[in-house]
Each structure stands twice: as structure tokens, then as C-alpha cells.
Symmetry: C3
Subunit: 442 residues, 3 copies
């Protein structure tokens, strides 16, 4: 099942984008079973960092919603992470790496649950693949879960629990893996368009953003968010320490997200590339945060911490499509542009009367697109055309399918809580439990 | 001091449970000092993940107690972690790995403090043990600390600080290491009963659970928890975001807990096994969470987030005795059964008028037993008899010794705060400091 | 740029302090590109642990300030981390490792931004340096950011945002790197005085402490902190769960801080040393926490959790100058002395009317000095004279330069908010946003 992927990586060997691999071809295999151990352990370490991002999204979102909807946001985040784990295992992983090419047969074959290597694998250096299937599965699963996490923030404070979870099932079993296979499973975006998306500005972040956008349009804004007089009513998050903690967690997890996407740590060249990626990822986040800090100071006279936090995340999303080829200066600037984009995109969404509670669409969709385009600035393999067409194809697919699913859910079981429940808060209405029962409200 | 342990592992080489090791025997030593570096670093990485679980228990418990007892819960968790570090070093580690067999002499020898290898260890490949003693000590210490963490939650909101800390001294210096030596120190459970407990469903989790149960029975329930009319008075936790954060921390830490228990990362087979363990651990947690989510929806019409969080932890405890041999499907189901058990065990404890503030007994004791029995489902080396007798022996030992210690503490210094102090909260009474002094109470 | 550093390490090869390196000299290079991969990956893992300390400081400080100043504290911590990332890249890193000796030329050369190795580095074992420059940059950057984090806590609740951030620019671009080059860049403290500071009790922690002390003296205490009658008015932190979480995060991050400072993981000896460091670091924290617990119980009849948390941190700072040569017992005692020092230093600062909101001066400066002196207890290479003179030189330099910078900032833009803003809280005055807008105040 990993063969196609390895082959597709093989075809990239002569490209600058993955030059470390080119060197491996000369020494085949570079460090035998030692290399296998290195790469596998690298997947486990970077994988647990990406897993930790699930906690980051939970805290960020719990901090940015109002007190009466906090428990609901926690519930959605824990549940979606668990659902992703099971659906990606049952369906998604095999769908994403169809093995014998991305055909209908491959898709159907996907329903054979993923089989990890047997206990006590007795491989010798000669028949080793590049890493343990289990570690690859673990790492890739966390990307799928991240995609689902992005959606939950946008739709907060008015969506019912179960329709959201059903959408998550479809997103993690089908929507994410199908489009991811087009690039990372050796599909047509990779093969025909030369699409470059190192760690998923498009494949992960914009996908979450498109699914969230479709949901936000169909679900509608929160009651009272957009006044009849055209005024936007701010609804400040209840706990900025949690939001800050969540941002730090995501910042930390992103080292795994981008670093692990090097996919190999078997040679000095590969580990040096991972080092560059760590440094670039960090500086892009810094660039995004500083840009938002200065810009909100200039625009609003007072810097806005929620913008600074989202600026850091915007920097991270922006560098995700190409964290390897930029130098530190270029990476800082790519991140800074992301920070600027977020500061302007948030009020623009408000003007469009699209209600995105945590700013996930500006961060993950807008900057996901920006980051994917920015690849052409530093990676000569990428073409603006190839990047654009891939962004559009993925966007249209995810948006349309998501809209259909949201539409069906709305028509059948309903996706929105009643007006009364929304005013009283989803915590008591849907879950019967407050997050802070003893703290009195101001 | 590690010799016995290595020997006992040696005797397991022909068993399916640790087949990766069997292969090593053929190539002796598989990767020389490279293997030593891999395994040692693996212990350090997985060890710091387990250390992080200390923060997880702190946040989980601080979130599940009422506002007036939060500082106390934080204090107990920080202090117990520090006590475990010192007592396990002074006594526990040598007691657990007595070297020349588990004899009285070995026990007495335990009081010679653990000596790590000298600075700048000059081992060559030929005289290398499998990993640095320092890394093994660090990793094993964190298991001891975890055991102590389990106890603190059950007894929250009414126990005095110092008796609890004295119990912790005895638990980490004597109770945990003695029983752990029976299995992991090459003792009789391992040698005579073929007891299988990969990462400690029994040796760690049920031990914490038994000690907590003994304490809960002797300490009695919180005032007002069980009404005279037989009604159970719910006392909701004050901060569900913290409880959720704590659960995510524990989920993350558990990859270290189970993964590091492979004990070797010197071959491709071993690292592939660790990968399987990571994937299985994750899916078991997901299974437990989803099972609790669906079950509480069905039973109570509204899903209960505290049950979902405990369901995830239940899944983690359940897979801990055997995270290697199951496939992903079996691991998910083993975890799901754990989630179901928790949903039924919590009200059952209430019926028995046993007051367990955070649900530690359902999670760690009930699912610890379940997980230990479930080993026989996928690991042919385990026998139902061997598992059962070991569960009983460990349980009787820990419960009886704990009850004696709690009884002595109760008789001498008293273990429970005064009625007035309990009503006013332990924070002001015992520590003179509130966790949230500026937040007014509802 | 790393050559000087490597040479200076080379001169240490015959010393006991780094005896593992001595062995490497015999086998040159010990494990070739495998060693390169090990050391590089070690830097990445320990580096992300140190990065995580940024979250730790944020949570600790947000928990220890009053509700009305929480957003400001969060903003400062996120912004300083981003500033450190950019300034250390633009100026600091090259300034700290000037390459051809620490000369004026070297300093000027520093303004050539750090260049990481090219993508797909094709080094062979013969021309490999010991680790990827990118990984070293990433690791060292996090130390620079930590230094800045220390300052923000002391000056909380009355300093303006922008002057603080401008100071951070100067601290991370110039003050920290210049003095760090004296020891770690092969400068005169290393060469002429034999100064021993393994992971930075002086170079990082006391530097943060001196900069904070200069700021505290020039900024003055908070309004009402010191009454005219000589009484000290306690101003309890608003959220002790956050403070505890922050302490656990720092405790975890410190394994990376001290462990990674071994700088090599290419041999069995080096990884065994890292293991010792992990174990010693943990037990020193435990010693500090327990010492503060017992001492505050004896002194005040009730143990003080903020002292216990600071005691753990004090233990960590104390062991940082020499986490390798002590045995576990000595490490515990070194940490315990740190815990005792904090308990006495906090009220002493109050007597001197120096207002340190979070206790950063007792923890990082007092224990930084203690830890640096304590090196002579276990490392025969260190001399009391060499340690003392180095502490004084670094202290005078950092204190004087910081005082000048603070003085200029005060004279030009002002560093303190107005009396009214201080009373109303910095959150509304400086940022227009509360951290907990819905929680009513008690």
C-alpha cells in the first residue's frame, strides 16, 4: 500500500524540492536498518507533536468562545479526534494510499482496514521499506485529525453536536483522504500538475478552511452577531489564557507537522533539512505574530492579542507548503504576509456576514492559499499555474462536497440549535453541563 | 542491578510476546553502541512523555474538584511528584530490581541509593548493557510517580495534606516497587505464573486504584455526597477545560508510557513494534471515548463530557497490559469495552457509597483489571489463570498494605479535615490560599 | 562560525567535565554520519522542549498576576518569543559565535544574517561537522528566548508594552549574545578563567535576573505594594492552576535545556551523560520543591504553593550550571538549597522594597548564582575564583547595560503606565481587552 507513494517519491528524486532524496539514490540504501530506525522514530516523535495539536485546537477554541458554549467546544474537539482515529483507520488511510494507483478499485479496496506490520517484524536491511507502516499510519492520521479540528472552531456556538460529528465522519473517512491522495498518494495533482505542497497548506489547512466555509454559509451567523443596522457585534472569547496556551501548543506541534513531512531522517542531508524546517517554521510564526502586532497597533492604536495569536498561526500555515527551501529571511517574510492577511481577512469576513468564531477561515484558508502560492518564490520546481490549478481543484471539490453534506444534514436532522438554546448556551441545552459551574457570570 | 531484569527478559526470548527480542538473539548485539544510543534516547523521550502525565493528572484533578479545593489538589500533585522522585531514588529503584533475585538480602540491599553510571561512560560495544542505567532509572521513576498520581484524585476534597504525603512516601518507596519487582524485577509473578503486563494495567494502574480504594473506604465519602434518603448528590467539577486539557496531556503521555515499555529500540523490529504500540494506544483511547459518548447519549439522552474524558482514559488503561499484539481493530474494541465499563462503574461505586471524586477507581482499577484479562485475547502466551492469579495477588497485597497504612495514619495523626474545614474548603483551611481569589463564586 | 566553538570544546577534551568527548578523540569521528544524525535530532528534540518553556513562562506569569493584567502578560510573552526569534537570527547568533575569535570584527560580522546549510546537504562523514547548523541555531535560539521570558514576570502589572518590547529587542540581539559569547562562543571567560556553566545558571538565568533587577529598580514597585507604614501588601495571583501548569511545563522543558547542553549524542558515553543529566535535573527540582514545602510549613504553619512551585524552579536553576557531575544525592541537595534560598529571598526582596511580581529574581538570579558556585562541589575543574569572577563580570555587564537601556527608555518614551491605568489594570488601558471578560470579579 505504500508502494505507489514510494514510487511517486521516486519520480521526484531528480527534483530540487526533495534533493536530499536524490543523494540517497546514489548510496541505496543510505544507512540500511539504522536509517529505518531513524526515520521510524522521527515519525513517532513528530507524530506525537502533531497529536498534541489536538489539545491546542481544543484550548484555542475553548478560550475564544463564550462561557456558555465552552463545554460543547471541548466535547466536539475530543470527539472529533477520536472519530478521526477510527475513520482514518477503517477507511481513510487505504483510500489515501491506494497502492495500485488511484482507481475505483483502489477506492473500494480501501475498505479493507489498514494492516500494520506483524509483531516482531524480522526485516533485514535488504527488504526494509523506508519506515515502519505503523509509524507512517500514526503520523498521517494526525494530519487527518488536524483537518477536522479546523472546522470545529468556525462553526462554534450554534451547531448541534451530532450533525457536526457526522460531518466529521465523512470528512475524515472520505473528503480528506480522497483529495490528499491526489497529491500525497501519487495522484494526478502530483503527477500531472507538479503540485508542490510540502506539509499541507492546501491539502490540510485549506481543506479544513473550505469545509468550514461551506458549513458557515449553510449554518448562518450567530444570533445578534450582525445587527440589522449593518453593525458587527463583537462577542469576545471567555478565556484568553486558554487561547494563548492553545496557540503555544499549536506552535510546538507544528515542528512535528512540518518537520515530519520531510518523510526521511536516514541521512545527514535529511536531518539537516529537518533542522532547516524547524528553524523556518519557528521564524515564520514569529513573523506572523510581529506583523499582526505592529499592524493592529497602527490600525487600532491598541494591539489585539487575538490577532497576534492568529498572526502566529497564520505564519505557521503560510510556511507549511514550503518550509524547506526558503532561507530564514524569506521564511520570516512569508509568515509576516500571513499575519497581515489575517488582520485584513477577519473584518472582510464580517463584511460578508460570514461568522467564523475563531478566525479559522482567515488563518487556515486564506493563508493556506497564500502559502501554497508562495512556494513559487523559493522553490523553482513549483509553477504558479500548477499551484493555482491545484488550489482551485482541491477547493472546488472540498467546498462542493462539504456543502452537499451540510445541506443533507440540514435537510434531514437539522444542524442548528433552536434560538432559545443558542441564547441560553449550548452547554446546558445540548450537554446539560457547564464548563465553569461555580464561577458567577459578570 | 539490571542483570536479573535482563536475564528475565532473556527467558522470554522464545515467547511470542516479545518476538522482536528473539531476533536479536541471532545477531548479538544487533547494532552495538548504535543500538545502545537508540534505546537510551528512546527511554529519555518516552520518559519525558510519562513525566508530562504528572501535569495531566494535576490538571484533570484540579478541573474535577470544586473551586474551594483546587489549590490543595495542585499542591498534592506537585508534592507527590517530588516525593516519588526522591523516594524511588533512595529506596524504590533498587528494591524493584534487586539484582541477585528477589530475596530479603536484595530488599535490604535496596537501601543503598541507586548509583548511575559514571560521567563519560567509556563502554565499548562489547561491554555495553542494552541502555544507560540513568535512562532506565528516569523512565521507571515516572511509572512510580504515575501510580501515586492516581491515588490523589479519588481522595480529593476531604483528606489532609500531610497524611496523604506520608502515604505517598510509603507507596513510592515500598508498595509500588515491591509488587513491581514481582513482575518487572524478575520476581515470581513473572517466573512462576507467566504473568503478562506489558506496560502496567495491573502493575501501575490497578495498584494506584487499589491504594485509592483502600483510602476511600477508610476516609469515607465527602459530606453531603450521599444523602440519607439514598440520593447521590452530584458535585460538579469547577473547570472542565482543565479536565479536558489534563486528558489530552495524559493521552499524549501514554504514547511514552506504552511505547517505552518495549524497552528496546535497537533493531528495525523493535522500532516497528513501538510504532504498532503508538497506533494501538491511540485507537484504544479513541474507542473508549466514542463508546462513552454513544453510551451516555443512549442512557442519559445527553452525552456526558466527564464520561467521554474518562472513557478515553479507560481505553488507555485497558490497552496498557498488551498494546503490541492486537491489531488496530482489536485495540479499538479493547478500549471501547473500557469506556463502557467506566460508564457503568461510576454509578455502581455511588451505589456502594464509595466516593471517588475523579473516577480514578473505575478508570484505573476496573479497566486495569479488564486490560490485564484482555491480554489473553490477542497474546497466546498469556493464560487466563496466570493473569487472574496475578491480579488477585497484587490486589490483595496492595489493598491490605494500603489499608493498614491508612488505618495507622488515621489512628495516629488523623487523615480527614474537620467538618468545618471541609465545608469551607481545604484551600483556606489547609493552605490559606485560594486558586482563583478574584473570581467571585456563583 | 562554529569553528571557534568546536576548538574551544576541543581544548576541554582532557577535562573531567566533558570526559565523554575525550573518548571521541580516540575514534575520530566516533560514529560518522550516524553520529551527526543522532546529535542533530537530539538538538531538535531538546530544542522543542526548550521552546515549550515559552508556554511555561506565559502560564506561570499569567497565573501569578492579578486578573486585570493577565492579557498584558500573555501579550508580552508571545511577543517577546517572536522578537527573540527574529533578533537572534538577524544579529544574536552570529554575535554569539563570532567565528574568528571574539573581536570587534567578529561583532560587526554578526550583522550578516545567519545562513543555514543549503537544502539537501550532501555532506559525507569526512566533512561533517558535529551537527546541522540549523539544529544548533534552533536550540541556541530557545535559550535566548528563555532569557527574555525571565524579565517579563518581574516587571508585570505596571510596565508599558512597547518599552518592554524594545528592551527585549536589545536583550536578545545584543546583551544576551555578547555575554554568552564570553563563555559559549569561546570568549575570555571560557579561555582565561576556566568558567564552568554547563547549561546557563549564569549565562541564561542570572542574566535574565540581572536585567529584571535593573528594570525593577528603575520602574519602581506597584502602587500599594509597600505601604508607608512599612507593611507589605500581598497581591495574590489570580489563577494558581495556570501557575502550576506553567511550572510543570518548565520542569518538562528543562530536560531539554540541560540535556541538550551536552551538545553531543554521537556516542554511548554522551547519551549516558544525557541520561544522568535528565535524572539529576528531575531530582534537583524535586529537592527544591520539597525543601520549600517543608520550610514554609515550619515557618508559616501552612505550606505555600507559590513557594513550592518556585522551589521546584529554584532547584532547576540551581542544577543548571552542572547537571552532569553530581550524583543523584548531591543533585537533590543542590536543588534543595535552591528551594531554601527562594523561601528566604522573597521576603528579603520585599524588605528592600524591590517588587518582583512572580519571584523571578529569587529563582533565576539568586539560585543562578548559587548554582554557578555549586559547580565546585562536584566538578574538580571548576574553581571558586573562576566562578566568582565570572558571575561578577557577567552581572556587572548585564546590570549596567540594562540599567542604561531602561534609563534611556524611561527618559524618552516612559516605561510606566499612568497611576489610573495601573489601578484599572493594564489590560483595558494598554490593550482594550480583558482575559476573562465574562467572569465577574469577587
Amino acid at each position: 500500500m505504500k508502494l505507489t507513494r514510494i514510487l511517486s517519491i521516486g519520480t521526484a528524486l531528480s527534483l530540487i524540492a526533495l534533493p536530499a532524496l536524490a543523494q540517497e539514490a546514489d548510496v541505496t540504501p543510505p544507512n540500511g536498518d539504522i536509517g529505518y530506525i531513524f526515520t521510524t522514530f522521527m515519525f513517532l516523535v513528530t507524530g506525537f507533536l502533531v497529536m498534541w495539536m489536538g489539545a491546542g485546537f481544543s484550548m484555542l477554541e475553548a478560550g475564544l468562545v463564550r462561557q456558555k458554549n465552552v463545554t460543547m467546544q471541548l466535547m466536539k474537539n475530543v470527539a472529533l479526534f477520536a472519530i478521526a482515529a477510527i475513520m482514518y483507520y477503517l477507511v481513510g488511510y487505504n483510500l489515501m494510499y491506494p497502492g495500485d494507483g488511484w482507481t475505483i478499485v483502489g477506492v473500494l479496496g480501501a475498505f479493507a482496514p489498514a494492516v500494520l506490520e506483524p509483531v516482531g517484524l524480522a526485516e533485514t536491511a535488504t527488504d526494509l521499506t523506508y519506515a515502519s507502516v505503523g509509524s507512517d499510519f500514526y503520523f498521517q492520521l494526525m494530519f487527518c485529525a488536524t483537518t477536522a479540528s479546523i472546522v470545529s472552531g468556525t462553526l462554534a456556538e450554534r451547531i448541534k453536536l451530532w450533525p457536526f460529528l457526522i460531518f466529521t465522519v465523512i470528512l475524515t473517512a472520505l473528503i480528506y483522504p480522497i483529495q490528499a491522495s491526489w497529491k500525497w498518494g501519487g495522484g494526478f495533482l502530483d503527477a500531472s500538475f507538479g503540485f508542490q505542497d510540502f506539509a499541507g497548506s492546501t491539502v490540510v489547512h485549506s481543506v479544513g478552511g473550505w469545509a468550514a466555509l461551506a458549513g458557515a454559509l449553510i449554518l448562518g451567523p450567530r444570533l445578534g452577531k450582525f445587527g440589522k443596522d449593518g453593525k458587527v457585534h463583537p462577542m469576545p472569547g471567555s478565556n484568553l489564557t486558554l487561547a494563548t496556551l492553545g496557540t503555544f501548543i499549536l506552535w510546538l506541534g507544528w515542528f512535528g507537522f512540518n518537520g515530519g513531512s520531510q518523510l526521511y531522517m536516514d541521512t545527514a542531508g535529511n536531518v539537516a533539512d529537518i533542522s532547516r524546517i524547524f528553524a523556518n517554521t519557528n521564524t515564520a510564526a514569529a513573523g506572523g505574530a510581529i506583523a499582526a502586532l505592529i499592524l493592529t497597533q497602527l490600525l487600532y492604536k491598541k494591539p489585539d492579542i487575538t490577532m497576534v495569536l492568529n498572526g502566529a498561526l497564520a505564519g505557521l500555515v503560510s510556511i507549511t507548503a514550503e518550509p524547506l527551501t526558503p532561507g530564514l529571511g524569506a521564511a520570516t517574510l512569508i509568515g509576516a504576509v500571513g499575519g497581515v492577511l489575517v488582520v485584513f481577512a477577519v473584518p472582510m469576513l464580517d463584511k460578508l456576514k460570514i461568522d467564523d468564531v475563531v478566525g479559522a477561515i482567515p488563518v487556515h484558508l486564506v493563508c493556506g492559499i497564500w502559502g501554497t502560492l508562495a512556494v513559487v518564490l523559493t522553490n523553482p520546481v513549483a509553477t504558479l499555474g500548477g499551484q493555482l490549478i491545484s488550489i482551485v481543484i482541491v477547493g472546488v471539490f472540498v467546498f462542493v462536497v462539504s456543502a452537499i453534506v451540510w445541506g443533507i444534514l440540514k435537510a434531514t436532522m437539522g444542524i442548528r440549535v433552536s434560538e432559545e438554546d443558542e441564547i441560553n448556551g449550548l452547554d446546558m441545552a445540548e450537554l446539560g453541563m457547564e464548563a465553569y459551574p461555580e464561577f458567577s457570570k459578570g
